[in-house]
Symmetry: C3
Subunit: 273 residues, 3 copies
């Protein structure tokens, strides 16, 4: 039940350590608070092991990576693994630069990730060792559509099996898969793409959901995708004449803040394949 997933977050207030980009970090923090979690940020190698040790989960986002933060990602990832904490990778811009691709691939070799979440282009880069990323959006030709859905589901399951991680591919249609099961989710609105960082926000949210639901990680990851997309729908319904992407950002976070289990159950649009 998705309902349980969100209620467990609100009950247990999971503390999430974020090593994330400075573009969207404030929104990530407010989304974590909105959903019932608690955020802490640290990207200094000498600091991250202590910080991650007091948390329940670690969210690694390579959006504005640098040599210092890359070292912090490796150290925090190793520590979180040693402690059995939930670890998520958001490979922002993998495929757009050698450093980003190599960092994401290198992290996957050294750190065991519970979840890898990105757009189709980023995930393909990791899976195939190639691919192109225009900025942080998925290449249109490679978008997950109704036509390409069967192939995309198969790809997600295969990559999940290969990595042992839950694979979340977000876009117009979202996929959340392990080796055997794939949630196909149709919440959300295209206008969410006009707000910076809805993907980063989802990664933070998803980390909290997986931490709070250790016995149902796949469902928790899917629930987080439904929450974000449904918040995008609710937020849009509250838009007034003259409002734009900045107000929409606020209304989405507000909708997460106000979301309860009933609303989530009723509004979630998914099928399992």
């Amino acid at each position: 039940m998705l309902k349980d997933c969100i209620e467990n977050v609100r009950k247990t207030v999971p503390l999430v350590h974020n090593i994330t980009n400075y573009v969207t970090v404030n929104d990530v923090a407010n989304v974590l608070l909105a959903c019932g979690g608690s955020p802490i940020m640290s990207d200094e190698p000498e600091d991250v092991e202590d910080i991650t040790a007091i948390c329940g989960g670690l969210n690694i986002n390579i959006g504005t990576l640098n040599q210092r933060s890359i070292e912090a990602m490796y150290r925090a990832g190793a520590k979180a693994n040693a402690l059995g904490h939930v670890v998520l990778l958001d490979p922002v811009g993998a495929g757009a630069s050698a450093l980003r691709t190599n960092t994401a691939v290198g992290l996957m070799e050294k750190v065991k990730f519970d979840v890898i979440r990105g757009n189709i282009s980023e995930i393909k880069t990791l899976a195939l060792g190639s691919g192109t990323t225009k900025g942080v959006d998925a290449d249109v030709a490679d978008a997950v559509t109704e036509e390409s859905l069967d192939a995309a589901v198969k790809f997600a399951k295969n990559f999940a099996e290969k990595t042992g991680s839950i694979i979340a591919i977000t876009g117009a249609i979202d996929l959340v898969a392990d080796a055997n099961k794939c949630y196909v989710i149709r919440n959300g609105r295209p206008e969410m793409g006009k707000i910076t960082g809805t993907g980063c926000q989802l990664s933070g949210l998803m980390t909290a959901f997986v931490v709070a639901n250790p016995e149902a990680k796949l469902e928790a990851a899917a629930a987080a995708v439904c929450v974000m997309g449904l918040a995008g729908e609710i937020g849009w319904s509250r838009m007034q004449d003259g409002d734009g992407n900045s107000t929409y950002r606020n209304r989405i976070i507000d909708a997460i803040y106000n979301m309860d289990g009933e609303t989530l159950e009723k509004g979630a649009k998914y099928e399992v394949r």
Copy 2:
């Protein structure tokens, strides 16, 4: 008079140098502008001495510290002390990691702070050389409540005497103390804890208030706490159905922007012990 404290900020437009975390920095800047001050940010060691020299105050926040910014904190602090500027320490997460605790303690040894502002857990860490911090929130068992108030007031005064700094401990009940006098403030709302960085925002605001009121630093620090808490109350009163923590953040900053001396005098809830 609290009224004078805020009016002096608006009249003199204090320029505040902030070495602060990248999570909440944008809100800190907008809060400084809202209250009538002017913000500038710099955390590069080669830059901070020049920048702090043209300012009236320095706000050091260790929220996302790194080796570079730590060096910048020491250099800026020394320069600000040499010039007789107001310096404030916000020891975010002291107690949560060795680096944070050691940095805060080390700064207190080398830099003379006019004000140290944190939650009870952070301040206890500094005072006792120990303590635990769950993220950046005060440990619930150590919260300042009506029951623990007498002991907390005594603790704040003692630590103020020991350090020669004004000690501001914020939470459900806020304390602002020097060795002899403690403001006990009951403004604010619990929902402010669901917004990232209200503490960081207060530290920026407080620095501006102390700079603008050199003859009444304790009262100015207390006035800043009242402004923030009262803005939280006014902002909450403007919340509409469906609003959440993201909109609340905007409404609080808006309330600071619109606050005048009369509103502050009427709305401030404090006693002196």
Copy 3:
């Protein structure tokens, strides 16, 4: 036609690489999305050449510069020049510290900028090798006013001729000049100065406009200034009782999001000298 300038942005979705300060970066990203562009941020020297290569323009903002990001600015600037991309410099705080002044001047020696955009104090610092900057606001004595307009226009044209760059000087009256022609723009509102980063936002916006209009760079830069100022006017007209600078920030970005060519043509207030 200004109308064409904004419509070209919406049609071509220019990808802009930003090396910018962490104070206002989120707003810069949302403004780029609002106007129809697409943002990507990277400030790691090992990353920036790959990132800038896939973009159409590069926006360099020295607002929270550090030794790492300065190296990234030089490397990205050289790469962007080699590829014939649009490059813009926003010399935040030039004149306020030796490092900022030297970095801006050094970048101008090594990188060919299509546009340099700052306040009068910053631009004077670059032009004259001296000047004072109080924070990031123009020195009041040196503001561009109706009285000082003739001299300021001449100064802007001269500096444009000397540098071969379009010079954009923003304040109460905005100037956008090349060696022969100067747009004098009177859009905007003084309350925009109470929001952090409207200048940074404009620099991002302007980069996208110049990228999308390679045959009309001067007009495109002027169009960007009109868009920002007009959005400030439209945003202000939507303010309600109790709103302040935080809500105003959202309304300005919203107004950019909703601006079409007709609105821009009707609302732009400029003359050419």
